[in-house]
């Protein structure tokens, strides 16, 4: 898996410039007899350590929606020494592969050797296009790859992953109480993104007493749908500032390293606005301001212009709070968590806020493990392109805002057994150079003190606990290696 992000990046760059460059790129064409979304590709330098690079999901999606079954094409930035085409995981039955061929720069690339992995019937048949397939037989084994292995004389080696920085690990949790047990469990981590909680201050003090190096990050709580009130009513603005900032952490500000302005915004601030059939009263109350400032009639559902106006007011509130925190507590960093327009969002929330003008010292990035696959046109036909939301976002933050990866918190999800593997997310985050990784466990629980959160036997809890059993020794080993 390590290095797949680099490969994907190359792939994207290659696709964007297809037709202009292309030298050294390898086009893998696989012809299956029947539609499948489970055909996967791995590359390797030595035939031992494999890196997953892509799969046929997008092709199958196209077939389900009525598209014709066609060849599956994958574009690699360079010809690998070894290519593996196959299936793995929860797949039952047979996948028939009629043929596999590879071209580099449009020229057929000879296969030096063919071999198999797992149970493959008639493997020799996939060397020719004749509708006589090699048949991969798989029984749903998670650890087995069933497929064909091709060896080439590589034109360029597959770039390995960048050297990962030493990582800091944290959690997102709410201090339910000020018990010693909970404080000790939290203090084990390098940092914590603290939700609001009944015993926030007492818990933070205990944590810092146990582990003075623990980085305290507070998620501030903005009142819902308050941005117009904040913008136009000075008295309310002062009250919100005090509530969100001074009253919340002023008493222990010396222990706080960073604050985030709410979370996943505008999903919280705009809840009840962006999907409202009738205009919410918090918006309707200020419609005269819109009409004054924009010179057009206020209507609902909102026009694009009205949405822009709403976003501007919210951005103004976030920027004002950024300044307020810096003015009052100059040593504390302020990170943003709001969806930035055009940066590569995935939450489904509208993109209200202009990411190019929003003030921030850093950013919280959630979308590890989320990839979007699409089919793009190439001279050889449709080819799969795999796009990482995380990489997209980070690239935009770096290039458009100068935010370094060291000032980004990368979230790994640790409660979805049927979705993204937590450890693959960790790899993805680290390979992008993000060194602060925090985990969202089921119910935002502290894994070292699960029982305090009313744990149960649901799949998400079981998964979270399984992650913790593996994660804890992994982090401890890394700490021992780095001497921390």
């Amino acid at each position: 898996m390590r290095g797949w992000a680099a490969v994907t990046f190359w792939l994207l760059v290659s696709l964007c410039s297809w037709g202009a460059a292309g030298e050294g790129e390898a086009m893998i064409r696989v012809r299956t007899l029947y539609p499948t979304g489970n055909l996967k590709l791995w590359v390797s330098d030595d035939g031992v350590a494999w890196r997953f690079v892509d799969d046929s999901t997008a092709f199958f999606r196209a077939a389900v929606t009525g598209g014709a079954h066609d060849d599956y094409r994958f574009l690699l930035p360079a010809l690998p020494a070894f290519l593996r085409v196959g299936i793995t995981g929860a797949v039952l039955g047979r996948v028939s592969i009629d043929s596999i061929d590879v071209t580099v720069g449009g020229q057929p690339e000879p296969v030096l050797a063919w071999s198999t992995s797992g149970t493959v019937l008639f493997p020799e048949r996939c060397r020719e296009q004749d509708d006589r397939p090699a048949i991969l037989v798989h029984r749903g084994e998670e650890e087995t790859v069933t497929g064909l292995v091709l060896r080439f004389a590589p034109g360029g080696r597959v770039q390995g992953p960048p050297a990962a920085l030493p990582a800091k690990y944290g959690v997102y949790t709410g201090p339910r109480d000020d018990s010693d047990a909970l404080a000790a469990a939290i203090a084990w981590w390098d940092f914590t993104v603290f939700q609001e909680g009944r015993a926030l201050e007492a818990c933070v003090r205990k944590v810092k007493a146990i582990n003075p190096a623990h980085r305290v990050i507070l998620r501030l709580v903005l009142p819902q749908r308050s941005f117009l009130l904040y913008a136009y009513d000075a008295e309310s603005r002062d009250a919100i500032r005090r509530q969100v900032v001074d009253s919340y952490f002023g008493a222990f500000a010396e222990l706080v390293d960073t604050v985030t302005l709410s979370e996943e915004e505008p999903g919280i601030m705009f809840r009840g606005i962006y999907n409202a059939t009738l205009v919410p009263r918090e918006v309707h109350f200020w419609k005269h301001k819109y009409e004054e400032e924009r010179g057009e009639m206020f209507t609902w559902p909102p026009t694009a212009e009205l949405n822009l106006w709403l976003g501007e007011k919210f951005e103004w509130m976030l920027n004002d709070l950024y300044d307020y925190v810096h003015e009052r507590y100059p040593g504390i960093k302020v990170y943003q968590w709001v969806e930035l327009r055009g940066f590569g969002n995935h939450s489904g929330h509208a993109e209200y806020v202009n990411g190019d003008t929003l003030k921030m010292d850093g950013y919280v990035l959630e979308w590890s493990g989320f990839n979007h696959q699409k089919l793009v046109d190439t001279p050889g036909g449709k080819a799969a392109a795999r796009i990482s939301y995380l990489k997209n976002y980070l690239t935009n933050l770096k290039e458009r805002r100068g935010i370094d990866a060291s000032e980004v918190l990368g979230q790994a999800w640790a409660f979805e057994p049927e979705s993204r593997d937590t450890f693959e997310q960790i790899e993805e985050i680290r390979e992008l150079g993000i060194s602060s990784i925090y985990f969202f466990f089921p119910s935002a629980a502290m894994p070292g003190a699960f029982e305090l959160y009313g744990r149960n036997d649901s799949p998400s809890w079981q998964y979270g606990e399984a992650v913790w059993r593996k994660l804890k020794p992994m982090i401890e080993a890394e700490r021992a290696e780095s001497g921390n």
Binding site: L33, Y34, P35, T36, G37, N38, F60, A63, V64, H69, G89, A90, V91, L92, G93, R94, V95, S96, I135, R139, G140, E141, E418, N456, D457, S458, P459
Partner: protein, 471 residues
């Protein structure tokens, strides 16, 4: 002109050839008939037998399982009761009638009775004071627990804290073998019970908490597709029951709702109708039709020692026997007979179609495992070539979540990874998606074998003949 003449001649030649072939075949058939001898009666201690012809689906098989489902009661003499331990399966030479060997067999009374009769818990509309009755640990006054017996509305717990319980008192002890719970949600995923024990009792002082309650099934931690819009069935061996309750330990949010907790008696009294399945492994290679006889006797007859459970067993269920757990169904199950599917009934397969690949279609089975062992669960199916989403539940818990792949448009046999199953009655649910293309999903048969794989191509089919009485 020349070409037409050739075609004419060709057709003439072909016609004559066909005629000649028919004559030869008819003659050959008569010759065979004349040569077939009745199989000798090799189990003289057993009074009855049923001849069964086993054939392939056009592809040879090795050591493949086969079964027949029969009602044995009409075959018995007056006043006789079937002896379930008497079953023997013997193979004969189809032409000479000579005994070739005996195959270890498994007899299982039918356990998957789809509870077609009216539920026992439905109240007579003209006598609301009479049993059955319903009680609950708490109820929302707008959605009282009486909904579970009045066939209208739903029960919603009143208390905010679990556990929540709803119970039905049938008023008298009845034989019961199935309970169907119908979890509800509010359309936004709230209120659905998702950690539930279904329990039964014959005695209870208060009809809800006291008494000899025993768990017979339930479900826990299932994701939405298995709960929303689905019946959650529980099957078990017929047993005396007066009280039935659902104990709900958690919900998807807020107080849980149940739209039904329906209690069913067996479709028939097993003492009055001895219907069951006989299955065995057909030894060696099968290419041509093979002749077997199933021997059985009545209780009290001086028969052989009781049949032991064979080392290798096969539990086979035809898909047309499946329980449809989608409520309301929203999908249709095709009703046509297909000669390429196994099973003698009409229709003999489960056929499902929907315009999009959006639903996971359910097919549920009650299966009785004769011995705790590691089993392969395999199913014969056809549909759109390529991937199909698949979820499999056993007793309300997910045992497989992934996809299966179909090759071509003919029947495929798909096997799940090996799984240890405990002895007893279980409920097995398959949830499948249509995949890419315009073909329906045809589900033929599901087979459980205590082996690392079900090594068959297409399987075998069995056609029973007329029952015979010992001369």
């Amino acid at each position: 002109m020349q070409r037409s003449s050739w075609r004419l001649n060709g057709e003439l030649v072909r016609g004559r050839l066909v005629l000649l072939l028919c004559v030869v075949l008819v003659h050959a058939g008569r010759s065979d008939d004349a040569a077939v001898a009745a199989p000798e009666w090799t189990h003289g201690e057993l009074a009855y037998r049923v001849p069964v012809t086993v054939s392939t689906f056009g592809v040879g098989e090795n050591d493949a399982p086969v079964h027949v489902r029969l009602n044995f009661t009409p075959m018995l003499g007056e006043g006789e009761k079937l002896d379930p331990g008497s079953f023997r399966v013997v193979e004969y030479d189809a032409r000479t009638g000579a005994r070739l060997g005996e195959a270890p067999c498994l007899f299982q009374p039918v356990d998957d009775v789809w509870p077609g009769p009216q539920p026992l818990n439905w109240q007579a509309p003209d006598d609301p004071a009479a049993a059955p009755n319903a009680v609950a640990s708490s109820e929302n006054p707008e959605h009282p627990v009486r909904a579970l017996i009045e066939r209208d509305g739903f029960w919603e717990a009143g208390s905010a804290t679990p556990p929540w319980s709803a119970a039905i008192d049938l008023g008298e002890i009845r034989m019961v073998n199935a309970i169907m719970a119908r979890p509800l949600n509010d359309g936004r995923g709230q209120h659905a019970p998702n950690d539930v024990d279904i329990e039964v009792a014959t005695e209870s002082g208060d009809g809800l908490t006291e008494g000899n309650w025993e768990r017979v099934g339930g479900w826990k931690g299932l994701s939405a597709p298995y709960i929303f819009g689905m019946l959650r069935p529980v099957f078990f061996s017929p047993r005396p029951v007066r009280y039935v309750r659902a104990v709900i330990h958690s919900s998807t949010g807020q107080q849980p709702r149940l739209g039904g907790l329906d209690v069913y008696r067996p479709l028939w009294n097993p003492d009055e109708r001895a219907e069951g399945r006989v299955s065995w492994i057909v030894p060696g290679r099968t290419e041509q039709p093979r002749l077997f006889c199933i021997y059985f006797g009545s209780v009290g007859e001086a028969g052989p020692s009781p049949t032991a459970v064979p080392e290798r067993v096969a539990i086979i269920q035809e898909a047309e026997e499946a329980v449809n757990t989608r409520q309301p169904s929203g999908v249709s199950f095709g009703g046509k007979f297909d000669a390429s599917a196994s099973g003698p009934t009409t229709p003999n397969m489960l056929s499902v179609f929907w315009k999009q690949d959006v639903f996971r279609f359910p097919a549920g089975f009650a299966v009785t495992i004769p011995r705790t062992d590691a089993y392969t669960i395999a199913f014969r199916i056809r549909g759109n070539p390529g991937d199909h989403g698949l979820g499999v539940l056993l007793d309300g818990s997910e045992i497989y979540q992934g996809v299966f792949c179909l090759e071509g448009q003919d029947w495929n046999v798909v096997s799940l990874p090996l799984l240890t199953l405990e002895e007893g009655v279980h409920h097995l649910d398959f949830y499948m998606r249509l995949g890419a293309g315009g073909l329906p999903m045809d589900f033929d048969v599901v087979t459980l074998v205590n082996a690392a794989e079900l090594a068959i191509n297409q399987g075998l089919r069995a056609k029973p003949g007329a029952p015979e009485v010992r001369p």
